[in-house]
């Protein structure tokens, strides 16, 4: 039978007189293992960096700063048939002004208007002036004269839409 007292209470054995190591004995204290340094893991970062740089290059080359551009909706006249006209159209004439025709003057109801703000005010106040109920069905025709810069024509178009008119067009007679 197994002798419990002997196995637990004898304690560590010292080298005996013969100089023999006690390691050979059955219940000797186990030797302390040498500490091993943890292995360093090196993921292949170079491949990752390659991909990242390629992505970055793609974006740098193929992208441009977000456009602040938008679209102003409009319609085109039916020049082959006849357009339904529900009301007398309002005509805005855009006249070039200044050196190099860099400025313009708007004309509405025979009145010269020097800037877009005044044009907007005039267009907005028309219902009160002429006792018109709704602006939506009133056609507005933009008539840019020869030499007018595109920006002024778009300005007039924009102010008419802003004032609440829906049927804004460039007058086909001025194409």
């Amino acid at each position: 039978m197994f002798d419990m007292d002997k196995s637990w209470n004898d304690g560590p054995r010292s080298p005996d007189a013969t100089g023999q190591s006690p390691a050979a004995e059955p219940y000797a204290r186990p030797r302390k293992k040498k500490e091993v340094e943890p292995t360093r893991v090196h993921p292949p970062l170079l491949a990752l960096i390659d991909v990242l740089f390629t992505l970055m290059l793609f974006f740098v080359i193929a992208a441009r700063t977000k456009l602040a551009e938008g679209e102003i909706p409009g319609s085109l006249p039916n020049i082959t048939g006849t357009d339904e006209v529900s009301a007398e159209p309002i005509a805005i004439t855009v006249r070039p002004l200044g050196d190099g025709q860099n400025n313009c003057q708007y004309e509405l109801d025979g009145q010269a208007l020097s800037d877009a703000g005044k044009l907007y005010e005039r267009l907005s106040s028309r219902p009160k002036l002429y006792g018109i109920g709704t602006l939506e069905n009133i056609p507005v025709l933009i008539r840019p004269l020869r030499g007018v810069r595109w920006r002024w024509a778009v300005e007039a178009y924009n102010q008419a839409l802003r004032a609440g008119y829906h049927k804004v067009r460039f007058d086909p007679g001025y194409y």
Binding site: L45, L48, I49, L52, F53, L55, M56, F59, V60, A62, A63, R64, T65, K66, L67, A68, E69, G70, E71, I72, P73, G74, S75, L76, P77, N78, I79, T80, V94, D99, G100, Q101, N102, A116, G117, Y120, P144, L145, R146, G147, V148, R149, W150, R151, A153, V154, E155, Y157, N158, Q159, L161, R162, F170, P172, Y174, Y175
Partner: protein
């Protein structure tokens, strides 16, 4: 004197982590602030009307963008800039005032366009007039005439959006 302990020769390592961090940040910046360049957009300075009512550009096949490009995009307004150079549709130049060719182009594109399944009845083909603000209306008018000849009913004018 105490002899210095000789260790293994030190490894010279490059710390990649900040590099990757920076690169990721740059990529995220580009993703957020840019959009892929559209081939059909030429170098044009669109008009910026006061209190612009322009809304976001619509990407898709249901329209044809006509760019009206100036001859000298870098020159100042007072130096004779504003002379239109040509029209451009998808990078293809079309001579100024060539109403017939423009009209043919619009017709063929309209014919090739198919209304997507499930699209509303209002969805229709239109032209986008993307003119430089400096060109004269005389250069734009033929585009409108050609579109009207092609019996296109809708159009949009490209302009800068109002700052939010």
């Amino acid at each position: 004197m105490k002899k210095k302990k000789r260790g293994s020769p030190g490894e010279v390592g490059f710390n990649y982590t900040p590099l990757i961090d920076v690169t990721f940040n740059i990529i995220i910046f580009f993703i957020l602030t840019t959009e892929i360049a559209e081939a059909n957009l030429a170098q044009v300075t669109p008009p910026y009307p006061a209190d612009s009512v322009a809304h976001g550009r619509v990407a898709g096949e249901n329209h044809c963008t006509v760019n009206i490009v100036v001859k000298n995009p870098d020159s100042k307004d007072t130096e004779g800039a504003g002379e239109a150079k040509e029209y451009q549709i998808d990078g293809e130049p079309i001579p100024l005032g060539d109403v017939e060719r423009l009209s043919q182009e619009f017709k063929s594109r309209q014919a090739n366009w198919q209304r997507p399944a499930g699209a509303s009845k209002d969805a229709e083909f239109y032209i986008e007039v993307r003119g430089d603000e400096r060109v004269r209306y005389d250069a734009v008018a033929p585009v409108l005439l050609a579109a009207a000849k092609a019996q296109i009913k809708k159009m949009t004018l490209t302009a800068k959006k109002k700052d939010d």
